[in-house]
């Protein structure tokens, strides 16, 4: 099972490509910058390369191998049609700066995807270019800031619920805001009265996740939005949990002003071991003029426009009836084209009816797990009604010093990826389970059996869990040592 590092098996003289030998006597325009020293990059022949990475891959777990009950991360099936489409030459082999007449189809993909996002969310415009969820969040908050600045006052405070994703406060802070927490009710929702009490002329925005990170829908969402708007602020919605309501509920109908959408969560572009993601941000009418370049927006005539630096001025004049208001550019080129093609392919496959079914099956699966587990595990909000697409549990009742982490590692030995642990912070030893709609009842039943068994061991104080996993490629790794003496690259032995 041990696979050596490429630095241990490759040499600088080995290569897996066939290219002409370097002719040192050839004329050069490199001047004094020509490289003469050794870089230290090992090469492998093609058979060695394929074997190295194939063997490495087998030390990974993925959706193709089993169930990933990761709350807030929506690990669903990745259709291979999407991969095939993304590799079509007209998408994969075009340069972002080709003359626009040679990329009408690529722009068509962006426009079509933008229309889908706008219609699915009931919003007015969408900024396509953000590279990932957190980047999209930043985009949304910057839009809000730009809109407030245009009114003459950026304001100072962003309100964030205690249970928010860590990116929310980080984003607000980056945009220059002070973050204040919103308290939660006993039922795990935003405390509407407390929120109303805090609203005022200094509050720029409320960042809310709905369904929230406890897996619950905010029933007061519309009231919250109305209150915030009345106080002159904006509502930012974290779209990480959009899978629970896609096709069934439109955030625009709830008064949301901006929401990022993780294409790699709700719309099934692959996580790829940590990216690339894609985080378009849908915008209300009030915020649409302030989105970054390039962006798309639907105008009164129903047409969706792609706007870049060059045409922005003209577009703004014609359609917003005012001066240029975009807040700038967040990335080079047009964003994550490769993700757009995959997401659009996924949407077209499911259609409006299929996406509605997605939300329904995702929520059904989560409630099924919630009810199958609540007699074994502490389920803090189980009494307040159905959950959305995630079921939340806590570690109350664990014995023998066993922790949520031990339970998680125990699940690995049962053949499952662990759930999200210690999040949200509002529940002690939290375990957030999100089954998604692409798991079969049989797979979920298997998971429940395994989850119950490990949970019972945790409650019985089964010591052996502390050293789990036993059947993984590695036993528990020493993360403290890694951080204390960081060893972040291979060092050639003397």
């Amino acid at each position: 099972l041990e696979e050596a590092l490429i630095f241990e098996i490759g040499t600088t003289e080995t290569t897996g490509v066939d290219l002409p030998d370097v002719d040192d006597s050839a004329p050069s325009r490199l001047g004094k910058f020509a490289r003469t020293d050794e870089i230290g990059l090992p090469g492998l022949s093609e058979p060695q390369t394929v074997r190295h990475y194939t063997r490495l891959s087998r030390q990974n777990y993925g959706i193709d191998l089993g169930f990933f009950p990761l709350g807030s991360c929506t690990m669903k099936h990745n259709p291979r049609l999407n991969e095939k489409v993304a590799r079509m030459p007209g998408f994969a082999d075009v340069h972002p700066l080709q003359p626009v007449d040679t990329v009408r189809g690529a722009l068509g993909v962006i426009n079509e995807l933008a229309q889908w996002l706008i219609k699915l969310t009931g919003m007015h415009g969408v900024a396509m270019s953000p590279k990932a969820g957190a980047h999209g969040e930043l985009c949304g908050i910057l839009c809000i800031r730009a809109a407030l600045e245009a009114r003459g006052n950026a304001r100072e405070v962003v309100l964030v619920p205690e249970s928010a994703h860590g990116t929310n406060p980080a984003t607000a802070a980056f945009a220059g805001y002070r973050v204040e927490n919103i308290p939660a009710t006993e039922g795990g929702r935003v405390d509407l009265e407390a929120l109303k009490a805090r609203l005022g002329p200094d509050v720029a925005a409320v960042m809310i996740t709905n369904p929230n990170t406890c897996g619950l829908f905010e029933p007061d969402m519309r009231a919250i939005s109305d209150a915030v708007h009345e106080a002159g602020g904006f509502v930012y919605c974290d779209g990480a949990n959009f899978n629970a309501i896609v096709g069934r509920v439109r955030p625009g109908d709830l008064g949301v002003d901006a929401m990022h959408i993780n294409l790699h969560k709700t719309f099934s572009t692959p996580h790829g071991g940590g990216g690339p993601g894609s985080g378009p941000v849908v915008l209300s009418e009030a915020l649409s003029p302030f989105g970054p370049l390039p962006y798309t927006a639907r105008t009164a005539d129903g047409v969706v426009h792609l706007v870049e630096e060059e045409s922005a001025e003209e577009f703004a004049k014609e359609h917003f009836g005012g001066p240029l208001q975009h807040f700038g550019r967040m990335t080079a080129f047009h964003g994550q084209m490769g993700m757009y093609t995959r997401a659009l392919t996924y949407m077209l496959s499911h259609g409006a009816d299929g996406l509605k079914q997605v939300a329904e099956d995702a929520v059904l699966n989560a409630n099924y797990i919630l009810r199958a587990m609540e007699d074994v595990l502490h389920a803090p909000y189980a009494d307040s009604g159905p959950c959305m697409h995630e079921a939340l549990f806590g570690d109350a009742g664990f014995e023998g010093g066993l922790s949520t982490l031990d339970l998680a590692k125990g699940l690995i030995d049962e053949g499952f990826h662990p759930m999200t642990v210690y999040f949200p912070l509002v529940v002690h030893g939290a375990m957030l389970v999100e089954p998604t709609e692409t798991e079969s009842k049989a797979a979920i039943d298997q998971f429940i059996t395994a989850f119950r068994s490990v949970a019972e061991r945790a409650k019985a104080g089964d010591e052996s869990l502390k050293a789990a996993p036993y059947y993984a490629p590695r036993s528990r790794l020493d993360e403290t040592m890694a951080a204390r003496k960081p060893h972040l690259g291979f060092i050639d032995p003397e």
Partner: protein, 453 residues
Amino acid sequence: MRYLPLTDTDRGEMLQSIGASSIDDLFVDVPEVARLDGPIRDLPMHASEMAVEKHMRGLSKQNLAAADAAFFLGAGAYRHHVPASVDTIIQRGEFLTAYTPYQPEIAQGTLQMLFEFQTQVARLYGCAVANASMYDGSTACWEAVAMAGRVTKRNKAVLSGALHPHYTEVVKTMAKFTGDEIASSSPTVQAEPDNAGLIARIDDDTSCVVVQYPDILGRLPDLAEIAEAAHSKGALLIAVNTEPVALGAIQSPGELGADIVVGEGQAIGVGLQFGGPYLGLFAVRDKKHVRQMPGRLCGETIDADGRRGFVLTLSTREQHIRREKATSNICTNSGLCALAFSVHMTLLGEKGLRQLAAENHRLACLAADKLAAIPGVTVLNTSFFNEFTILLDGDARQIVRDLAQDDILAGVSLARLYPGVEGFSRGLLVAVTETTSEEDIETLCSALKEKLS
């Protein structure tokens, strides 16, 4: 619906077991105003794989793929041959459908790959430590500027005029919100970059100088000279590279004194993809700066049985721990693009990378010489790697559009990059890689000859 395993029988059984009479019971918390009575209107219903594929193929065919053209575009995105085995590997389900490796016991594949990737990038850049990748070159560039501010406790960045204009825009946009001061200008359209002008702008408040190498016009600035000037003022040098293949032929920014090296890694393994997803590279020359770096880092450790293993580490810098005090709000890298880069780089190895760079340079020199011989064409650069600027007797942007009609993608006009900037209308950036055939070069030359005569 082919992606949904639940049958109606399953749904019925499950509703019954949770005590709900219908699916609507589970959505009771949704306010009345937001309840829909059916699938969202104005959107199509579900479709077969065949129908969807056909639709998307139709859109794909409306684009002129580079393979079907004589192709000379660069300006931050380069077309190289990617070996078939790279794509095979990144399509392995265990890589493609894996989550961020937060559970290292079952993610050693991704983690060992990232450890190897970090080492490859660090060596390529002549640095001590590289991170596990960022969104792309432009956002990595901004992160470097922000990091320089944290390290120097200053907030004035001096940007070379010859930095990719999109990168400049991204830095300026972000700086608007953080309050950083950004000094920048347009490039001087001259044979050599204006190092002296840049150095003159460095002062005691400068946190960093940002220089692209090779620069947006393809020229090779003297990084060592700028590094010395920056360091003498207590500022950091941030080097930006958008064509990693160049580093197989030219000295690394780290060796030349850059403190932070960032860049776009797309050229190796990733492909053009109309601009994304791409691969941000980020490295620091001095290990002492590691704790100020943004993004994920993978480190070596041991498991409970003493075996070598890898984990994400130093995450106390990151948002999910530090929340509003994090070094960056970034929580995604470009994992799969990093894998593609690393596989391609492993296939190349040092030998292959040097050969690849030499072949790029040979063809670029050939193209420059042939273009220079055309009346009405002047080659601007004295130094370049695989991309250079030519000046045409005419409106370069219009010429590019005209040639595209004949499936010649002649390059990126300076007017496209700098719309409306005075005096740039004649400029055309021409990139030449190993995928450019000598026949392609002839095609471009003939077309230009005809156009300019």
